[in-house]
């Protein structure tokens, strides 16, 4: 009756609040998964089962409260936590023990969540990968940089996890590991206590076991977010291949086109959206700004400990040093000019559909593949959702991306629920 293996956070927290399942039972279930599988997956960089058990055993006399009562949450190791080190997968910060929780971590605890521990990030949430592997095939990358949170979701270590995204760091691991993800509009969630990489793009985001789980966390972390609009049928979707569709594998393209057909068959409207040619520069402009801002954000570390920085970060600094100030200004100006054009293109739609990634998780743990289909929307701060497609032949996960209008986060989550319902139904 109480199947904890697949229960969504929305359901789990109801059980805990009602007293049907104790916080301790929930915790023991997830700790069991971690103990069995994490020696292989290596999602956690820091976890303290004894402290978690001691806390859960405290006799409070009443069931836990709050919208996330008793829900274990994995926290990417670039969020400060008062009870764990925060190391950014960099030896420079081995001894860093923050004195307080990041803003988002505070809000989760207040809502009743249990912080399970810290999950592996790539170095400074950039490109140098950690030890985490993909639960669907341990020879394959989980994607970066929110690797531990996404892999831990797929391995069943927690039903909710925090990540961050600057280029493709949240949606790519979701696509490779087959989990639901939500990256809100830029600026809606305070990044207090999260180490910046490229502040023009950096955004907090999270993973869940369903679109409802993503919405549940959104209600906690975005105070004042409007209620989702009442379910309306049919939805109106754009389908946008972008200028880089030639980089999409045949299998991935086929899965996405099948999803579009399923949506149409269910009565939703799907229209092709073609971006004006000027958008072709967005991929490179995002990278250029990311390099320049990344080099500024990590300037103190680079000055003090250049030998402790990875090859990938060194390469970012090398590129940044060769970029003239006016080039960065021009890149930003182009994005500012394109934003209203994109806004007008999105206007007729509840959400725009596309690929999360052009490929499934590649073999090897060191490279994680491009983030082009994600960063072209990140450049404008648009909200994004990853919906894992069900592969009938039990192949590797493929991610369907839904992109919303700026600050249309509620509408996007509503549309994602409609899409998910159709796709789950089609797969049965």
């Amino acid at each position: 009756m109480y199947n904890l293996y697949h229960a969504h956070a929305t359901r789990l927290s109801q059980w805990v609040r009602s007293g049907a399942v104790s916080e301790e039972t929930v915790l023991e279930h997830f700790l069991g998964c971690v103990e069995r599988l994490d020696p292989t997956i290596q999602a956690f960089v820091s976890i303290d089962p004894d402290a978690l058990r001691a806390r859960a055993r405290q006799p409070t006399g009443a069931p836990a409260k709050g919208p996330l009562a008793g829900i274990p949450v994995g926290v990417k190791d670039n969020y400060d936590t008062a009870d764990h080190p925060t190391r950014f997968y960099s030896p420079i910060h081995d001894d860093n023990r923050p004195s307080r929780d990041a803003h988002v971590v505070s809000l989760l605890r207040q809502a009743g969540a249990v912080i399970m521990g810290k999950t592996h990030t790539t170095e400074f949430a950039y490109m140098h990968t950690g030890p985490t592997c993909n639960p669907h095939d341990p020879r394959r990358t989980p994607g970066s940089s929110s690797a531990g949170s996404a892999a831990g979701m797929a391995a069943g270590f927690f039903p909710i996890a925090l990540g961050t995204q600057t280029a493709g760091s949240l949606i790519k691991p979701a696509s490779y590991c087959g989990v639901y993800a939500f990256k809100p509009s830029y600026g809606l969630v305070s990044l207090e206590g999260v180490k910046p990489l490229a502040p023009s793009f950096d955004t907090a985001g999270w993973y869940g076991r369903s679109v409802s789980d993503l919405s549940l966390v959104a209600e906690v972390l975005i105070p004042g977010l409007p209620a989702r609009p009442p379910a309306s049928q049919p939805c109106s979707f754009g389908f946008c291949r972008t200028a880089r569709w030639d980089q999409v594998d045949h299998d991935v393209a086929h899965a996405l086109e099948a999803a579009v057909e399923a949506l149409r068959a269910a009565g939703h409207h799907v229209a092709e959206v073609v971006l004006p040619e000027a958008f072709a520069s967005v991929f490179d402009d995002h990278q250029l700004i990311n390099d320049c801002e990344g080099a500024r954000s990590l300037a103190a570390e680079m000055a003090m400990y250049p030998d402790a920085m990875s090859r990938e970060v060194q390469a970012m600094f090398t590129r940044a040093r060769q970029i003239r100030w006016e080039q960065e200004s021009a890149a930003k100006t182009r994005l500012v000019a394109l934003a209203p054009v994109l806004q007008a293109l999105f206007k007729p739609f509840d959400a725009v559909l596309g690929a999360s990634c052009g490929i499934v998780a590649p073999l090897g743990l060191e490279a994680t593949g491009p983030s082009d289909f994600i960063k072209c929307w990140m450049a404008f701060g648009l909200p994004q959702v990853n919906i894992p497609l069900v592969r009938k032949n039990a192949g590797l996960p493929v991610g369907l991306q839904l992109i919303g209008g700026f600050r249309h986060d509620s509408i996007l989550l509503h549309a994602a629920e409609q899409v998910d319902a159709v796709l789950r139904h089609a797969s049965q």
Copy 2:
């Protein structure tokens, strides 16, 4: 010969590097000022003279190095520091001792600066004022929120100090206390380790004893900032009164107009700039976004400790709760639409001149007056400089504001040096 009372940081650091003046001598000079005057001014919330002296006495065998060698710096108490508590003037954070320095503090230390201590901020860098008073008249406010840093500059406690600005928090205290200030373009300086208030506007900034001092710090905190253009004569300035010029006191208006005349007399071009009527909404749009984002940033504190929040913060939450999501979206959309219009208006000029504040420092320590003339530019992330006008009758300080184009920080600092040279000359 070595007059430490008025020496600019550029000069002081040369003396220290050359060994002409020891770091210890510099420190003792400034500690002496603090010990004599801070019981009245109350600029510092945390300072440890013994630890500073012990550090300065360490026999390094050679003079200090770096562009800020031996320069004492006051740090606003919303920047994390590894050697002081960070309290945001809120009892909620009384016990907060960060484990590491904010990004900007790290860069200052690497450049040889000596962190003197933490200076008073208003609560969460918002409106509830602390005990600091204005050195020009202790019955008057120093302005908020970077009160301690600006008052400490005016009292001679340090030649450089850090502040932050969301509405008028850096430039207003500079105007009231008569110190030089620079607020760079939005996004150029990492805010790691600084508590966010309204992330769409929050920006680090600093005070100095001259425009050269402001530039010296800019070179340290903005790696890659282009060198200032070679001195060109004459400069081309816009003079913009904005839609709220009726709120400028007669004396302040007269001082600014006299400055404009002095610039013209020195051969510079000054043309009136009139903003299109659509800009009249910017003042209120900034406030509305500030309220909404502020309430989101402080949501964790408000949920846990509502009784520990000031009346001013409570009022912000009350306003934010009454603002609909669509109103905030519309305000942001208006700013996005106006940004390119402003960019075109600024194009013919090296910088635009205006009032920093419409009034001199008002009487009383609880209210600090409006920030309209500052936040109307903050809304667009433009770089700003405050130049204190020399009042011949030894009246209270009046600030001349210079505003630059987005990311034209080097050009702005260059223009500020030209303006300052004319005004210093005119006053002799």
